[in-house]
Symmetry: C2
Subunit: 322 residues, 2 copies
């Protein structure tokens, strides 16, 4: 979103792709303001209304002469979120907007978010390949129709771990890979040791022999849970293979005690794991299912190296929802 | 949590119950610091370890003489989160901690969170009644055993709407009622017009005839979804009975077009609802499933009266997770 792009711009980043359709007068105006002081800013389009509104606003804004706003056409390769179906639909759309003044088609872009729900490694690889192929094919069709395309941009962390050919692709946009998380652990593309983000939580109650309650909840771990996730519950508790977080309230993570509940995922860390249940007051590290919304819930990161705190970083983009 | 209590204290509230077990040296120390400048501060206990740690810290802190820290014993009436089972377990626990110096048993407290998943109005009323009865019974047993109890505190917004007798109860702690939300709509205890919190979102894409995408997602609506919720999806879109939010990404709400998808809940608002699908750029108000985590995702409320903006309020307690 534009608020996050503003944070990047203020930090000196001067080539920013907002992989989002910017719609509405207010947002377009903010985008064009940003465009005035940042060397390169682009956004996505997937509708004629959206492209026309950007075009009109860019024309009436005081952009430098002969400097149109760059847009990427968003392509749907199977996630069924935003974007036009790969192939002919994209070509027709591109032909329809190529003469609009004020904007310039810079490339095509997609996000194979459906890879995150893959049930097998084969399915994941298949989605990764078909994403790349659909994009390369669409780029070829656009060029055959005389439309200049600089960028062919694909996305998603899971696919970026397994894709075996990047021929014809100019850009990949994995995001979660910065930290990794239990969703990626579940897909088998990372081990627990590859997960850099965890939530530090304390046991606050052990009301029965099979229940452990931590001072974390949907306000710290988020309720995000991938369809088909092979790990039970809301995050993996490091070093505690025998418990899993069965339910979340806003402020409570209610864990169930069950032998070897997450042992497989803990074993993947290559460490000997404890077989005990943490006591009241004991602290544990919980690797969340989905790192992205968790980062957005906190104001600061505590940065450690070899178990020593070396820094605190502000989450500057937090809450920049528009 | 203590961070939220600090916000209240700074705003002048001088009688604060933190309905949470305060565990760990750091948190207890912060609690006792708060206790020094706020007239009344209490927290909950449900473990001997927790009570002993509070007692020891309170004794070594410089609290005013003869001013112990008030604690509520947390009772479980069926939610199976924290708390001791109502009745004999609570009495045994109270007898075990009553001689600890530095703390004083002020009352008992419970939260019937399981009411939120009620499948019928009868089940909801039954949970509300059994919560109150279990607490009154437990208070009676404590008093018979010579333990002084000032407060008998029950909770949860759904039960507070239906409970028909408060005999023996000194305090109720509904929270969501401040705004109401689609979860309560689903339970049949409020109408859409009773829901005061909504997220303003714009259509950013309409990639197919049966799909509408809004610029809201798990970072604005949260992924919270009550078990047994009778409303499909992630929030009710005001005035749009024919669409429902089928999936969320962090920044996208992907809605499915389906005739009368949420018509029943919209009709409950007593308004004639539109039967059209919003266009790209059009704004809608989405009443979220669960108001609590949604408030925590925003920095500000925009306050309206008769559709006119009259104020902006800061969400001062946001992100006070510890």
């Amino acid at each position: 979103k534009i608020g996050e792009a503003q944070v990047m711009a203020e930090s000196g980043i001067d080539d920013i792709l907002i992989a989002y359709p910017i719609v509405g007068e207010d947002k377009i105006s903010r985008l064009l303001n940003l465009r005035k002081w940042v060397r390169k800013v682009a956004c996505t389009v997937d509708s004629l209304q959206g492209a026309r509104a950007l075009s009109e606003a860019a024309l009436s804004a005081e952009l430098p002469p002969r400097e149109p706003l760059d847009v990427y056409i968003e392509v749907d390769v199977g996630f069924k979120r935003v974007g036009l179906p790969a192939g002919k639909d994209v070509v027709d759309f591109a032909l329809g907007i190529q003469d609009l003044k004020g904007i310039r088609i810079r490339g095509i872009l997609t996000h194979a978010g459906h890879a995150a729900s893959s049930e097998t490694p084969e399915q994941l690889l298949s989605i990764a390949r078909s994403e790349a192929q659909a994009m390369v094919m669409t780029a070829g069709m656009l060029r055959e129709n005389g439309i200049h395309i600089d960028e062919v941009s694909i996305g998603s962390t899971p696919t970026s771990y397994v894709l075996d050919s990047f021929e014809g692709i100019t850009e990949i946009r994995p995001g979660t890979y910065v930290f990794n998380d239990s969703d990626l652990l579940s897909l088998g593309v990372v081990s627990l040791n590859d997960c850099a983000l965890s939530v530090l939580a304390s046991v606050v109650s052990r009301p029965s022999h099979d229940r452990v309650v931590f001072d974390a909840g949907s306000k710290t771990l988020s309720s995000d849970k991938q369809a088909n996730c092979k790990i039970p519950g809301y995050g993996v508790i490091k070093g505690c293979p025998d418990i899993w977080i069965e339910r979340l309230s806003e402020e409570h993570a209610i864990a169930r005690v069950q032998p070897n509940a997450t042992a497989k995922w803990n074993a993947a860390a290559g460490r000997k794991t404890a077989d005990r249940i943490p006591e009241i007051g004991e602290k544990v590290q919980i690797v969340p299912n989905h790192a992205c919304p968790v980062v957005n819930l906190f104001d600061r990161f505590i940065v450690t190296k070899n178990d020593t705190v070396i820094a605190e970083w502000r989450v500057q983009g937090r809450g920049r929802l528009a």
